[in-house]
């Protein structure tokens, strides 16, 4: 080794989500990163721990009528209505590009019925590019499916069961925060075989256009995301990490390495960057840089030392 020009220290940022090994704990949250290609000229996609794509359903969905988004204090509401190209076109048009990135690709799926979840999982099982499936049981935007699966432990377990049965890869279940006790749902899906849980999805909210005396969103309700929800997300991640044995992935208002590290202290093994991608398209890479620098500055042997390292007096 050249002592005058030592190679820069390589922080050990590796984490495991069940059987899935990641180079670092930073993922992009579903629905906030398109199909990744949108960001290719703005950041280095290969630096990511994993990429989670926009939620995919069995059939294409047109989504909700506009307006679909509105800003709120330190946050935004969205009612995209799960617009997506459907699993078939996703596999044909999007997966080949994603497969070439050399980064684990996690496919977020949603369905209106248990059968749909099963069928979409079967279709994805044929692809070798998919590293894991994230099951959205929590999206508040469509009337059928979403809300019901995510707020009832039995239904949540049922969905988990069928996806797990058909999936060739690890299954992450994404939890809704719009429940009285999120640990009940987390325990139910863990018992049903989930390899990990991710949380939180958006809080159900609403905005009003005073001038027009109408809801600001055509859908009336929308999902609240961004820094505004971070305290709720952090609380739920902490509660769930204490209640289940499987890895927890923290989501909600994460903008910086500091935010990400707080979620890891609370018990998250990995994190997802959502709304921050809109504000700073390089946000996820910045978080990777930041936690690497932290590991070096603090002299940690690995980022894994941070997971659940919160001290309670």
């Amino acid at each position: 080794m050249d002592l005058l020009n030592p190679t820069p220290p390589h922080p050990d940022l590796r984490v495991s989500i069940g059987p899935l090994s990641l180079a670092n704990p930073v993922m992009t949250a579903s629905g906030t990163f398109g199909y990744a290609q949108e960001f290719e000229t703005l950041m280095n996609l290969r630096r990511l721990g994993a990429i989670i794509v926009k939620g995919i359903s069995l059939h294409p969905r047109a989504g909700n009528p506009p307006p679909r988004i509105v800003e709120s204090a330190c946050g935004m509401l969205n009612a995209i209505g799960l617009q997506n190209v459907g699993v078939q076109r996703f596999i044909e048009e999007k997966l080949p590009y994603l497969g070439g990135l050399g980064v684990p690709i996690i496919v977020n799926i949603l369905g209106d019925s248990i059968d749909e979840y099963r069928e979409i999982t079967e279709r994805l099982a044929e692809s070798s590019v998919v590293s894991a499936i994230e099951v959205n049981i929590s999206c508040p935007n469509v009337k059928k499916g979403g809300v019901a699966f995510g707020s009832d432990p039995l239904m949540a377990a049922a969905v988990t069961g069928v996806v797990k049965e058909k999936a060739a890869v690890p299954v992450i279940v994404k939890l809704s925060p719009n429940v009285t006790d999120v640990t009940l749902i987390a325990r139910a899906v863990a018992e049903a075989g989930a390899d990990a849980v991710s949380l939180i999805n958006t809080l159900i909210g609403m905005a009003i256009d005073l001038k027009r005396r109408r809801p600001a969103l055509a859908n009336v309700f929308g999902g609240l995301s961004g820094p505004a929800i971070k305290p709720v997300a952090l609380r739920m991640v902490y509660q769930v990490a204490k209640s289940v044995q499987i890895p927890v992935i923290g989501i909600g208002g994460i903008e910086s390495a500091e935010d990400a590290l707080e979620f890891m202290l609370a018990g998250a093994t990995a994190v997802q960057i959502g709304t921050a991608n809109f504000v700073n398209p390089r946000a996820s890479e910045d978080v990777v840089d930041g936690i690497g620098a932290y590991v070096i500055e603090e002299g940690l042997t690995s980022i894994r030392e941070m997971i659940g390292a919160l001290e309670i007096c």
Binding site: C74, F278, P281
Partner: protein, 261 residues
């Protein structure tokens, strides 16, 4: 299509009227990649509130890296941006979206209110293609003199004759710019470019169709990302499907859009 997130320095701040501001940035990468009709997303503050970037049409851009936006103060974000000082830095994302399709045939550019913003860059580029041989006109409309006059000189420099209408008659013809358009004698291969308030663009779509003229409009919608990632900026197309303003637009064929009157 390459996009950049650039820290750009404000080199000039012009208060063109009590509400309307023009900012000039040094933004080498974005300015030199920009095409007329494209837009940028700008962070208006350093904090978490307002959270999202604000979209602005590219008002002017040069290969040397000068980028301009021209905007009206309508809310918190634009107020913060208006308060910026020369020498300050802002984060700009761009160039974004699909701009105008340029043509060598005759043209008619119609800008109303803040819809004037993208027309200057467009007129400049169209003027350059035509050097000397100008087949076209620029129509500018505003509520009042101060919404149009400060920009007149810049438009005249593009070489196109400029016609003006104001709602209150304080400058140019009294009334809507669409009225001027209706009286104009335009060749059948004339392309119409339009940006302005919704009702104006809806009228221009109808007027152009009646005259069998191809009309391109630059439309708006609420936006979060500006780059196709959120799917938030949808608008209803004529066929009932949703298009996304940041990706499929902001420029569309007027024929392809659904208009409400």
């Amino acid at each position: 299509m390459t996009q950049f997130q650039e820290k750009a320095t404000v080199t000039r701040r012009e208060l063109l009227s009590s509400d309307n501001v023009r900012l000039t940035f040094q933004s080498a990468k974005i300015a030199s990649a920009a095409e007329p009709g494209q837009f940028v997303m700008i962070r208006v503050g350093a904090g978490k509130d307002p959270l999202l970037r604000r979209p602005f049409s590219i008002h002017q851009a040069t290969a040397e890296g000068t980028l301009q936006i021209y905007f009206k103060v309508v809310g918190r974000g634009t107020a913060m941006l208006a308060g910026i000082r020369e020498g300050d830095e802002v984060s700009i994302l761009g160039p974004l979206g699909r701009g105008f399709q340029l043509t060598d045939s005759p043209v008619c550019l119609v800008g109303g209110g803040l819809g004037i913003a993208p027309m200057l860059f467009l007129a400049t580029r169209l003027g350059e293609r035509r050097s000397g041989q100008i087949h076209g006109r620029v129509l500018l409309g505003g509520r009042t003199r101060m919404e149009v006059e400060p920009l007149l000189g810049d438009f005249e420099q593009t070489g196109f004759p400029v016609l003006v209408a104001t709602d209150d008659g304080s400058f140019g013809q009294r009334g809507f710019v669409t009225a001027i358009f209706s009286t104009l004698d335009l060749p059948p291969d004339c392309t119409v470019y339009c940006c302005g308030p919704e009702p104006m663009m809806a009228s221009m779509a109808v007027l152009s169709r009646e005259r069998h003229l191809h009309c391109q409009v630059s439309v708006e919608s609420a936006m979060a990302c500006g780059m196709g990632a959120c799917l938030g900026c949808s608008r209803t197309a004529r066929n009932g499907e949703y298009v996304h303003v940041c990706l499929d637009g902001p420029v569309f064929d007027a024929e392809d859009m659904a208009w409400t009157f």
